[in-house]
């Protein structure tokens, strides 16, 4: 199976998009060999490089995507769809070379249906541009992930992204109404215009989170909301994480509908309150930011008051509005220079996990213990927060930092993989589920079988049926494909 685009194939592709919208210049191949997958960056840092694509194609229409995929299929050439290139799971890394399909020229807003609160757009549109456009007309997606400024709508769809307001407004899949998909054979499929139907299975969910392995999502209709007239935040301190988690659970299960709950574990609590609030205390083990929003101030007021009562009953210490507002106003700062991790050549990652309320604390404890046991000798840090809350459970968003990783990139990669495997296996064994907002990609693919067990054959069978030539983003999500 070839991964090369020879001159003849290049000309074929060029005839579809024109010479201005295809390139095989080495400077572009370098840029497109990476996303934000940490080991990839470590390879480059250490003077090595990842597999390069043969070319990058910039389609503008669904028809062009379809024709490019047909050509790729005819020549058995891999196709890697790419949005903003901001994922840290390696989902956009062209592992087998081939064609990178840069979707960012597919950036049109097709329709804003103010009556149904729905917006239809091409999926290469940067989310920040979509949100800006909606805001100008008084609407919002209420889907605001950390990579809001650098990811495309298609990127979020392909990885099942979550925004900071997901506790109220859901993840990306919760606001998808319908999709247009170019299948691996080049055919264009359209799902029904509304998601809550009974016309058989929900095919939206088949392609959302498939990371381009089953086709390319080219267009989407998303539910939107009126911009809230009221949004407010509040901070609380708790004596320990258990109490803080219980407060979050009660708020959610009583239907108080917060847009934000972020609960930090003991280590991160102490760092956060010291850095943000200037508080240094030994008697605190949990820090929570909660937020409420909506169209009606009195409803928001009531929800917040009821939530405060829950926190107060559990011995929480009310810190007022400032902590939450500070977080909200600076929530993206961490991702801009000065970078505290990359520039210091640390090895780092997020082992995002989700579980029911019954299991989540056990998942947290198990991960923490096993990781510290095994990796302390590497100047290892592990801590995090619980965000994305639901009526039945919450997500734990822990990060690890290795301050003294091996110099050799292969050894660094081995260590990186070992940390993920150790942490995720501890999570799965205790009821946790893989929940990486950046997708499964390269980073977690090998753990998919462990997560799904026998169920993984469903995904493999679907892949084989839809993409028998295995051209779509090969090597990702644990699917047994060429390397």
């Amino acid at each position: 199976m070839s991964s090369q685009v020879n001159q003849s194939v290049y000309r074929e592709l060029e005839s579809v998009v024109g010479s201005e919208r295809i390139t095989d210049e080495p400077v572009a191949l370098d840029a497109y060999s990476l996303d934000v997958w940490c080991p990839g960056m470590m390879y480059v840092d250490r003077g090595q490089s990842l597999k390069h694509p043969s070319c990058i194609v910039f389609p503008e229409t669904t028809k062009e995507v379809s024709e490019v995929i047909r050509i790729a299929g005819n020549h058995l050439i891999p196709v890697v769809p790419r949005g903003g290139g901001a994922g840290d799971s390696g989902g956009a890394v062209p592992l087998c070379g081939g064609i990178v399909l840069d979707m960012k020229r597919m950036d049109a807003v097709k329709e804003i249906d103010e009556m149904s609160l729905a917006v239809t757009c091409q999926t290469g549109l940067l989310q920040v541009d979509l949100e800006d456009r909606l805001n100008e007309q008084g609407f919002t997606l209420n889907h605001l992930p950390a990579s809001h400024y650098c990811s495309t709508v298609g990127g979020f769809l392909s990885t099942r992204g979550s925004g900071v307001l997901s506790s109220k407004y859901g993840k990306i899949e919760n606001i998808v109404m319908s999709l247009e998909i170019v299948l691996p054979n080049g055919e264009v499929a359209q799902t029904p215009p509304v998601p809550q139907h009974s016309a058989g299975p929900d095919f939206n969910r088949l392609f959302i989170g498939a990371e381009g392995t089953l086709g390319v999502i080219t267009e989407v209709t998303l539910q939107m909301y009126h911009l809230p007239r009221e949004r407010r935040f509040r901070g609380y301190l708790f004596k320990d994480l258990h109490t803080a988690l219980e407060a979050g659970r009660r708020i959610m299960t009583k239907g108080l509908d917060p847009c934000v709950i972020r609960t930090y574990d003991k280590d991160d609590t102490r760092v956060m309150v010291k850095n943000v609030l200037g508080i240094e205390r030994e008697d605190i083990g949990g820090y929570m930011i909660m937020g409420f929003d909506g169209q009606f101030e009195d409803i928001v007021e009531l929800q917040e008051r009821q939530a405060m009562q829950i926190c107060n009953e559990l011995g929480g210490e009310d810190l007022g509005r400032e902590p939450g507002e500070t977080w909200w106003n600076h929530r993206y700062d961490f991702y801009y220079p000065p970078h505290t991790l990359e520039s210091k050549h640390y090895l780092y990652g997020v082992i995002d996990t989700i579980a029911t309320y019954r299991d989540i604390e056990r998942v947290y404890t198990a991960m923490r213990e096993v990781l510290y046991d095994k990796f302390s000798s590497y100047n290892f840090h592990f801590g995090g927060h619980f965000s994305h809350w639901y009526e039945w459970g919450t997500a734990f968003y822990p990060n690890f930092i290795v301050r003294e990783p091996p110099d050799d990139p292969s050894q660094a990669l081995q260590l990186y993989n070992d940390i993920f495997e150790t942490g995720i296996r501890a999570a799965i064994a205790n009821g946790g589920v893989l929940n990486e907002h950046h997708g499964v990609g390269l980073k977690l693919g090998r753990l998919m079988k462990e997560q799904y067990k026998e169920g993984f054959q469903i995904f493999q069978a679907i892949k084989k049926a839809l993409d028998p030539k295995d051209i779509m983003n090969p090597g990702k999500m644990g699917l047994d494909t060429r390397r």
Binding site: E25, D30, A31, V36, D102, D132, E136, C150, Y336, S343
Partner: protein, 371 residues
């Protein structure tokens, strides 16, 4: 490679960071990630590590950058991608690897002290020039008819306000663009000629018709280690005009009734941290409030892309057309005002449906006794 510690730090901070990709005017148009701040920092890093021998395609991406500077403002530290790009360009020039377009532009600037030597030449000199004045009105060399209107209107306004000023017999180029292209030695020669003239005339204050040249005095000469006398005051023309308006020396006789907006030139905001003055003048001249474009002030992302306009005019025009379309959006606009000669020049050449004018010309048109 001759990079400072700060340049290396910038490279480290940005070579994997996609957070400023969406604000880069060139990358917004090309969509090619090699054009983004991340892509450029990564390529710079590959140059630095000897993994790329300044290949022609890689070098070209550095000259496709418009040096707009929002990526610099976006960072929460002192990392400075535009400064890194200028440093890499200097290295490219030192290695004689720049694209032919760059050398042709350099030759034209050096031969003619002008960016548009083949265009109509400037003939204007202010009527009230006073050779013994201690204020020098620095009329930037000929860029285009649009820019020449700025220079002339500025001089007329200074005369109307009875500001005593001198002009140079021959327009001298500060070398701002040459510096941005990477020709540092040549800029030193240019700078010395101007500074000699300033010393000879015992100039205490320089008013720049174009803030683009003010940038040379305020930023670029310092980067080259060229000493500007501490007591020399430099300011953009807009600053002088506001002062004259405030003091009643310039009196607008009519108000502007068109729906007008002010366009913040990006380098003024991001390099010089100024830009509010011109907006204040426009507000002062208008019957109603100015129309607010998207992404202005600290978020301004457009740059006329001085080098880009002359090196790759087709790309530059695509960039500006996209940018203006995004800035204006659904707003109804009759007039767009800028104090950047490159913005005015370039926007006038695309079909926008509204009038584009430089601030001095607009102000002059409203003043009793003006044209």
């Amino acid at each position: 490679m001759n990079l400072t510690e700060q340049h290396v730090k910038t490279m480290d901070e940005w070579r994997f960071c996609p957070m400023a990709n969406y604000i880069c005017p060139t990358a917004r148009e090309t969509k090619n990630e090699a054009n983004t701040p991340r892509g450029l920092a990564l390529t710079a890093y590959l140059f630095y590590r000897g993994k790329n021998d300044f290949s022609a395609d890689a070098v070209r991406t550095f000259y496709e950058c418009s040096l707009g500077g929002l990526c610099k403002t976006t960072a929460l530290d002192a990392s400075d991608v535009p400064a890194l790009i200028r440093a890499v360009r200097a290295e490219i020039v030192a290695r004689k690897k720049a694209p032919q377009e760059v050398y042709r532009l350099r030759d034209r600037i050096i031969a003619h002290q002008s960016l548009s030597a083949t265009d109509e030449q400037a003939t204007y000199e202010p009527s009230a020039a006073a050779d013994d004045a201690r204020t020098l009105y620095f009329g930037t060399p000929w860029y285009s008819p649009a820019h020449e209107a700025t220079v002339k209107s500025g001089a007329d306004l200074l005369n109307l306000a009875e500001v005593s000023f001198s002009v140079l017999e021959r327009r001298l180029d500060t070398g701002a663009l040459l510096y941005e292209l990477g020709f540092h030695d040549e800029v030193k020669t240019f700078a010395q000629a101007i500074l000699n003239e300033i010393e000879r005339r015992q100039v205490k204050k320089v008013i720049f018709s174009s803030a683009y040249d003010l940038r040379a005095f305020s930023v670029y000469y310092a980067e080259l280690g060229i000493h500007i006398p501490d007591e020399l005051k430099v300011e953009p023309l807009a600053e002088t005009l506001r002062e004259q308006l405030d003091q009643g020396h310039l009196k607008p006789a009519r108000m502007i009734s068109k729906q007008a907006a002010y366009l913040d030139p990006s380098y003024l905001v991001h390099e010089l941290q100024i830009g509010g003055t011109s907006r204040q003048i426009l507000t002062h001249l208008m019957q109603d409030k100015p129309v607010e474009l998207r992404w202005q002030g600290s978020q301004t992302r457009y740059c006329g892309g001085a080098g880009l306009q002359f090196l790759y005019p087709t790309l530059a025009r695509r960039v500006i057309a996209r940018n203006i379309g995004e800035l204006v959006g659904h707003r109804k606009l009759g007039l767009l005002v800028s104090e950047c000669p490159f913005c005015v020049r370039e926007i006038q050449q695309i079909n926008t449906g509204f009038q584009v004018v430089d601030l001095p010309s607009l102000l002059l048109s409203t003043i009793q006794g003006g044209r």
